[in-house]
């Protein structure tokens, strides 16, 4: 019997001809990513070497990537001191794939990795961030780990005790309606599968709709696969993947594409036709509490956020700018925009997107995680309601347990900014 893409990648990385769901393997790691929590990884890493006669040196500094994104620029002395500690470690260990707080090469880790060509099809990628699933968009097996797990990877170069997950195959067909897209599809899927529906499973995305989808859209799908509990979300690499890597990530070396076998065995097959899909909104306080937009249209909003690792890419900002250009953000509502990387921000400036957003009343911030997880800026007041293109709406997520967060696409967010209430973009754009 054939292998799923997860089985194939994990078998190869473990030096075995085959792997099956349930096998416990120790795959070699191709890319080990951390953000500010590298401060904790360093702490745990050094502890591993205590009482040994070895120097704490990572197995291969060229495979480590560190990106500052969660609190940039630092919001507190504590964060600044942690960042300083990480910088010193990076310099001492010769880690070159380090993205500091910069307006040229900085950004959110889940955008910095793809756009710099670090992620390749068939790789095993681990990251100390649950949304590391994003990188499956390029055909890699990418999953989130804790800081201590990462310290172990730095020491050994393998991920310990990885259970090969069974795979849910998602087949998507049909063409999206205007102003409906990848974010609506993944919100719909998370609602359909439930917050635990893909726990301990991988999701493989297939079908004509996925084949036509840009890498940007695929990143949104894989990013939020973890919201259904998935270990990894994977789009098998294809022409679009190679185009992205060559043209946008400027990769020039040889690329190897890994796909699933046609007779691979899946735990479950889920079919979705997007032809009739309407804009979707995840309601407080769980990501799987998903409703069609008409069920929540009119909800009054204090703050709208466009950006993040889920939806802060150029096409997302362009969509928002098209909708708000020549109009004004409603009084009583704040529109905050966080590009996914500095490179995207620069391109958005060049194309006039930023000016359109600013003139409409948006506040355009530097690239970073911003208010998504309530650690930095854009916190909500008591009783306030936010609508955001980010990926989580858990209680307290945006820094205040006495607030509510709704999740949506960039088009819904932009349309809603003009009215100050949840608004169907098909009605205003």
């Amino acid at each position: 019997m054939g292998m799923t893409i997860a089985e194939k990648i994990l078998a190869r990385a473990s030096g075995r001809p085959t792997a099956r769901a349930g096998d416990v393997l120790e795959p070699a790691v191709d890319l080990a990513m951390s953000h500010e929590n590298a401060a904790l990884v360093i702490n745990q890493f050094k502890e591993i070497y205590e009482g040994t006669d070895r120097d704490p040196r990572p197995w291969d500094p060229s495979k480590i990537v560190i990106v500052f994104d969660h609190r940039v620029p630092a919001e507190s002395a504590k964060t600044a001191t942690n960042q300083k500690k990480v910088r010193a470690f990076v310099a001492a260990q010769g880690i070159t794939r380090f993205h500091d707080i910069r307006g040229d090469v900085g950004g959110i880790c889940h955008q910095v990795l793809p756009e710099n060509g670090y992620v390749r099809p068939g790789q095993v990628v681990v990251g100390t961030d649950s949304h590391t699933t994003s990188h499956g968009a390029l055909g890699a097996f990418a999953f989130g780990v804790g800081a201590t797990e990462m310290a172990s990877v730095w020491a050994l170069g393998v991920a310990l005790n990885v259970e090969v997950p069974p795979t849910i195959r998602v087949d998507v067909k049909g063409a999206f309606q205007d102003w409906v897209g990848a974010k609506d599809l993944i919100l719909h899927l998370v609602g359909k599968l439930g917050a635990q529906g893909a726990n301990y499973h991988a999701i493989e995305f297939h079908g004509e709709t996925i084949r036509r989808m840009s890498t940007s859209g695929r990143l949104a799908l894989c990013n939020m696969s973890v919201e259904a509990g998935a270990t990894a979300g994977i789009v098998p690499a294809d022409e679009e993947t190679l185009r992205y890597l060559r043209e946008e990530a400027r990769v020039t070396d040889l690329l190897d594409v890994v796909g699933p076998d046609p007779d691979a065995s899946y735990a479950r097959v889920v079919e979705v036709d997007v032809s009739d899909l309407v804009p979707q909104v995840a309601c407080p306080h769980t990501v799987d509490n998903v409703k069609p937009i008409e069920a929540v249209a009119g909800v009054r909003l204090s703050q709208i956020v466009i950006g993040s690792c889920t939806n802060g890419r150029l096409d997302d900002l362009e969509t928002a700018a098209r909708i708000v250009k020549g109009h004004t953000v409603a009084a009583g509502t704040r529109l905050l925009v966080f590009p996914a990387s500095s490179r995207i921000l620069a391109e958005a400036v060049e194309r006039g997107i930023v000016l359109d957003l600013l003139r409409a009343g948006a506040v355009v911030m530097n690239s970073g995680c911003g208010p998504c997880l309530g650690v930095h800026e854009g916190a909500l007041g008591d009783g306030e309601v936010a609508l955001t293109t980010t990926n989580r709406n858990f209680k307290g997520r945006m820094g205040n347990p006495n607030s509510e967060v709704y999740l949506c696409s960039p088009a819904v967010a932009a349309a809603s900014a003009l009215t100050g209430t949840i608004t169907d973009p098909r009605k205003v754009a």
Partner: protein
């Protein structure tokens, strides 16, 4: 016998266990002060040392869903809590084993706050209601990390063995 200090439902996220705004605090020694910070009542009891070490949190399915933040585990380790849940989210379970948090998967568990709980021989017993709930075993590969005392000593042993 330990008692249930807190009873929770399904899908308790790491944002509830350890709110994101405290994530600049990373060291395991410093995280317990923010455990369940947005649950005013429980967090006050923790801070007032009214929750004895060894106390149990009973939860539904998918406990620890969301972020990979290890603070959500280290803050509970610091209070000496045991978590009995119907199921755990993947990264949380892995972090728990790596850091030595006592976690028990009991797919049918039902208990109320204040109940006395006994965990023994593959069974969770609610001594207050006299009901027994079978535990799901951990995969052998995870058990090896627990037996070594957590991932740090486990990795140290592997390094020393030259593997």
């Amino acid at each position: 016998m330990p008692r249930v200090a807190l009873k929770l439902d399904d899908d308790v996220s790491t944002d509830v266990i350890y709110p994101g705004r405290y994530m600049a605090t990373v060291l395991p020694m410093e995280t317990p002060q923010y455990a369940f910070a947005d649950n005013a009542e429980f967090s006050a009891r923790l801070k007032a040392a009214q929750v004895p070490r060894g106390s149990v949190i009973v939860a539904g399915r998918n406990f620890g869903c969301g972020s990979s933040r290890e603070q959500a585990v280290s803050c509970l380790v610091g209070h000496g809590l045991t978590i009995v849940a119907r199921s755990f989210a993947r990264i949380f379970l892995q972090n728990a084993i790596n850091l030595g948090l006592k976690v028990v998967t009991a797919p049918e568990i039902e208990a109320s706050e204040g109940d006395e709980i006994e965990i023994d021989g593959g069974v969770v017993v609610d001594a207050t209601t006299s009901k027994a709930y079978p535990m799901a075993a951990l995969p052998a590969a995870r058990q090896a990390i627990i037996d070594a005392g957590g991932l740090i000593p486990y990795t140290r042993n592997r390094l020393q063995a030259g593997a």
